[in-house]
């Protein structure tokens, strides 16, 4: 039986790590992800896991050590946030291109400057092209579930890619919420043993990792990496289905909430989806045909499936909690791409919200739907791109 407990998002991720029992964890603390490694360090000290915990001097070193340990054949995990993720930048690409299934929680936090500890998605969105599978979560239960699925997906022989499991800083990481923690043995049975691939420590089969790769091979290696991302999508569908059968919580590539007959749809990522659902319930009671498409998997991005899900809706508001300076938001760009081939294109526009932890209240969400109603009634989008809840308009 699963245990129903009240626990913070960070606590839940530490529990997932304890259950996964990785061979190596290398980490450097940064708010708001620090508690994950603090809790995990306690599990190490108490002998509850067999993990070798490496306390390094920077996030760059943390990811470097993770890559080394993974290439040596271990199951490897870490956690970080914000500028810590930024400092890993070089090594994020190397982990992915060396096809090492490193597992990492990213507790989303705004990137400096100015320095800010609160939530937005600028950190993980900045890493979206690094080659990591990226999951996003509305609450601590989803973050935990994504992490339990992460090793099964990343270590699949058709995939062999690192997996980033993202959740909102403070809003999820530091809030206690009721959730279910599954039994250790059931989780371990679900995940299975780690299988090393071309391990450096397999001295009977010596290999070279990190060799020079010029114009004769680099593009072939990148092509193969892209293919692994394509294949990951169906592996994620399979693993999610198996997870649902085993633990009763069903996950698709994204979540559709009241989407079937919706005229006005909001597309969003992470915790704000909870607030949006609450508002949708209220508006639905008043007969408004509103819905939500919540992103779970951002890389690989399920273009065709999302286009299919948005078929029939009349207006789509894409809410980005990060900026791509000089461009539309990262999520908007993907949704826009997904809809390019759609037969009946809905009206589409982009709103940036919540940067640096700016709170979105339920009334703010209602305003979003009010605006989309106006646009739909007028048959055109007034402002393609705008910030919400910003002083000065």
């Amino acid at each position: 039986m699963p245990k129903t407990i009240a626990i913070t998002g960070n606590g839940a991720m530490a529990e997932a790590m304890r259950q996964i029992n990785p061979d190596v964890v290398a980490a450097f603390p940064i708010t708001p992800s620090t508690q994950i490694i603090e809790d995990f360090a306690k599990f190490v000290a108490d002998g509850k896991v067999d993990t070798e915990l490496i306390t390094v001097e920077s996030e760059h070193s943390a990811m470097s050590a993770c890559i080394g340990a993974s290439v040596a054949g271990g199951r490897v995990m870490t956690a970080t946030s914000s500028n810590g993720l930024a400092l890993m930048w070089e090594m994020l690409y190397i982990a992915a291109s060396m096809r090492q299934p490193v597992l990492m929680t990213v507790v989303n936090r705004a990137i400096s400057a100015p320095i800010n500890i609160h939530c937005d998605h600028g950190d993980s969105m900045g890493a979206r092209d690094a080659g990591w599978i990226q999951f996003y979560a509305e609450n601590n239960q989803e973050a935990y579930d994504n992490m339990i699925m992460a090793p099964v997906i990343g270590e699949n022989m058709e995939v062999r890619l690192p997996v980033m499991v993202c959740m909102d800083g403070f809003i999820i990481s530091h809030s206690i919420e009721t959730m279910e923690i599954e039994e250790d043995q059931k989780v371990r049975d679900f995940i299975g043993e780690h299988t090393a691939l071309n391990s450096l420590l397999d001295t009977d089969n010596p290999v070279t990792w990190g060799a020079l790769d010029l114009h004769d091979y680099y593009i072939e290696h990148r092509r193969g990496q892209q293919e692994a991302m394509y294949r990951a999508k169906s592996v994620i569908e399979d693993v999610s289905m198996r997870f649902g059968e085993e633990f009763g919580r069903k996950y698709d590539l994204f979540e559709s909430y009241c989407l079937d007959d919706a005229d006005r749809v909001v597309v969003a990522i992470n915790s704000v989806a909870g607030e949006i659902k609450e508002v949708i319930d209220e508006l639905r009671e008043q007969g408004e045909k509103v819905g939500l498409l919540k992103i779970r998997l951002f890389r690989p991005f399920p273009y065709a499936e999302i286009a299919q899900a948005l078929k029939g809706c009349k207006i789509v508001t894409v809410m980005d909690r990060s900026t791509s300076m000089g461009a539309y938001g990262p999520l908007f760009s993907e949704i826009s791409n997904a809809l390019y081939d759609a037969e009946a294109k809905p009206l589409l526009y982009n709103r940036t919200y919540g940067l640096g932890g700016r709170v979105m209240l339920l009334d703010d969400i209602k305003d979003v739907f009010k605006e989309s109603e106006e646009y739909l009634n007028n048959g055109k989008v007034e402002k393609m791109f705008d910030f919400l809840n910003v002083r000065g308009g």
Binding site: S97, M98, R160, V207, H221
Partner: protein
């Protein structure tokens, strides 16, 4: 070129740019880099193996032999031009060459 060195399609590559054959540097023909060729004169050689120690490509091949007093030793057999890249270290380090009276390793232009 052997089929082994045919440029592979992306589908044929193991993930992550890993090289799964150990010691495959032996297949690499560094001899193509050579513009000057060391030529070994067996009759002048004292088999001190200094050239063998210094050669960065392991191009000096050995054989079993005897010292003038009859003890077992390793002797130079030949230079393997598949590997010799013509760096000239052997020419410079040869102790017989250094004395100047005789030459064990001559350095000659590849261009004839």
């Amino acid at each position: 070129m052997k089929d082994k060195y045919r440029l592979k399609k992306w589908q044929e590559l193991p993930p992550g740019g890993v090289i799964t054959e150990g010691g495959n540097a032996a297949d690499y023909e560094t001899g193509t880099w050579r513009t000057w060729r060391p030529v070994w004169e067996e009759k002048n050689c004292i088999h001190c193996l200094t050239c063998w120690v210094f050669c960065p490509e392991g191009a000096f091949l050995l054989r079993d032999g005897k010292t003038p007093s009859g003890k077992d030793r390793k002797e130079i057999r030949k230079i393997d031009y598949f590997y010799c890249k013509g760096c000239g270290l052997c020419v410079r380090e040869c102790p017989v060459n250094k004395k100047g009276a005789k030459e064990v390793i001559q350095f000659v232009r590849e261009e004839t």
